[in-house]
Symmetry: C2
Subunit: 330 residues, 2 copies
């Protein structure tokens, strides 16, 4: 196949070590020999075999990215950021879709470690499991993106969901709403909990009692929004505003509201969460909370490189602010 160091060494009649030194710009090579070597490198388009390099150095120039699903717009943007910055550092990214399944997560981790991957980013939601904690205890470079772990101090970058939800709810309160419903994600999900917390806190600031009947836990789907709204209609406390815990839920809510013949925002106001493309396409355009996904990915991978390079990670847990984007639905 391609030429190796040995080939070049033989051609000139020097040793492989000399060739290695010349190529890697290390001191201790005569100017003339170095020139000769580099000329042949050019001529035969020598490409170092990274597998061999990696084996010798006991490390590789790849990082692993574990996330639920790359085909979700939400994650793919962060993935893009990670790949951009990794590429600048000469690293490539191995993307592993876990669908949130712990078994697959574990398998991927084994694979990545067996391949001596330089480090791993966990991008996802909710709490991380024990396996990750154990990884964190061994001194393997790990960064958590939008995930948290309780017991161990693993460098993390998270988006402040509570404050985002707080801002969205305050926005509705300022508009004069008093019966604000929350259609949320699963109850055991960390994001759901944070968004609920922000919601509660906002109500509290306005001295409005928290009413559990106005909070519905479902999954993150469009159907949840649709069904959730119908449930609220059936209750005795029909809300004047709905805070949907993500845009997809909001889309379902809007569909149900329209189906019921109500006007948005006149009869019922709606706020979403995430700022995906649908928010600007749907009628009326959806007020939502934007998540800095690119920044999330970028800052995570920067932290990871700090770890890989044995540098100090300044901000162990970094919290990114989300931002309210007001459109026509409120």
């Amino acid at each position: 196949m391609g030429v190796t160091m040995k080939d070049i060494a033989r051609m000139i009649g020097v040793s492989e070590s000399t060739v290695s030194r010349a190529i890697n710009n290390k001191p201790g090579v005569g100017a003339k020999t170095k020139k000769k070597i580099l000329r042949l490198v050019e001529k035969y388009n020598y490409q170092p075999n990274q597998l061999a390099q990696n084996l010798a150095k006991q490390e590789s120039n790849m990082i692993g990215l574990l996330l639920p699903d790359i085909s979700s717009l939400f994650y793919s943007e962060a993935a893009r950021a990670i790949q951009d910055i990794a590429a600048k550092e000469g690293y490539q990214v191995i993307v592993c879709n876990t669908d949130g399944d712990e078994d697959r997560e574990k398998n991927y981790i084994d694979w990545l470690q067996a391949n001596k991957i330089a480090g791993i980013i966990f991008l996802g939601y909710g709490l991380a499991n024990n396996k990750i904690i154990n990884l964190g205890l061994s001194n393997y470079p790990i960064v958590l993106a939008n995930r948290l772990v309780e017991e161990v101090m693993i460098p993390s970058v998270v988006i402040d969901n509570a404050t985002g939800a707080f801002g969205a709810t305050i926005h509705l309160l300022e508009k004069g709403h008093k019966r604000i419903a929350l259609i949320n994600g699963p109850q055991d999900n960390l994001q759901s909990q944070n968004r609920l917390q922000g919601y509660k806190q906002a109500l509290n600031n306005y001295n409005i009692d928290y009413n559990p009947k106005l909070v519905i836990h479902k999954d993150w789907s469009r159907e949840s929004g649709y069904e959730g709204f119908l449930e609220l209609l059936d209750s005795d406390e029909v809300p004047t505003a709905i805070f949907a815990a993500n845009d997809l839920i909001a889309v379902g809510v809007i569909e149900a509201i329209k189906m019921g013949g109500y006007m948005i925002p006149h009869d019922i106001a709606v706020v979403g969460f995430e700022d995906t493309i649908v928010t600007s396409v749907i009628e009326p355009a959806l007020t939502t909370v934007s998540q800095p996904m690119y920044e999330l990915g970028a800052n995570s991978v920067r932290k990871l490189f700090s770890l890989i390079n044995k540098e100090e990670v300044e901000e162990k847990i970094e919290i990114l602010a989300s931002k309210l984007i007001v459109r026509k639905s409120t």
Copy 2:
């Protein structure tokens, strides 16, 4: 760090080759020794160092995926398919974003080859460049997904854009439209050309003369749709139907149409292309042509594994059908 074969060999007092044979289930190991070895493997959670394995075998268990942008919904779905199937075969995928830039493409290819990546999938649009052709001439496993190359027979999977566009245009013709505009992607783009070709052919089937004034070439953005429609309004031939070459363009078109006070589909009908999520969210829901992206990715990677395993690739160039999805905008 982890235990190696050498460690296990020493513990029992056998040679490394015996351990290797036992672990890889190769014949020629006594049942008792094998059991002893496997017990230690279990006990110390031995993980083979893949870097070493790869170096010894001169190949790696990774494949490369070159695409324009992973954060595009269009590509990320195919990427997901590729990763799913690769994972089943024990391979991982390295995702490389090129943004269509040939220099970056070339750099990635070098990197992938230096790392002895088992094969590469080129996912994208348009024609591939010479570098790729050269790669194809060397017997490196390569598959093209939604790309074509003229001179060399590289296994490829493409989506039949021409027929998709043909069907979409026929659909409009059947609805009685005679002045159908096409707002297309860039003129030098292969997909654009195919979609134009299908459009022309449909007109031809209905004995309608092709009118270049009704065809506008722009980029694939929402703004293109908006501006494109305004240009058509200014012309002397205002169309009764618009075929937008992708959904994003269609969104812009619909916005412009609404802004102009026209009714969809009463005054003007609209068809999109791709079937992204916006089609079901926008009002009115958009008739569009769905692209089997998951299948595109899946079949591409299957072909790649055939190449990697030195098997015969049955269908050198596979063409996937796209499908018209009729909604409310026509």
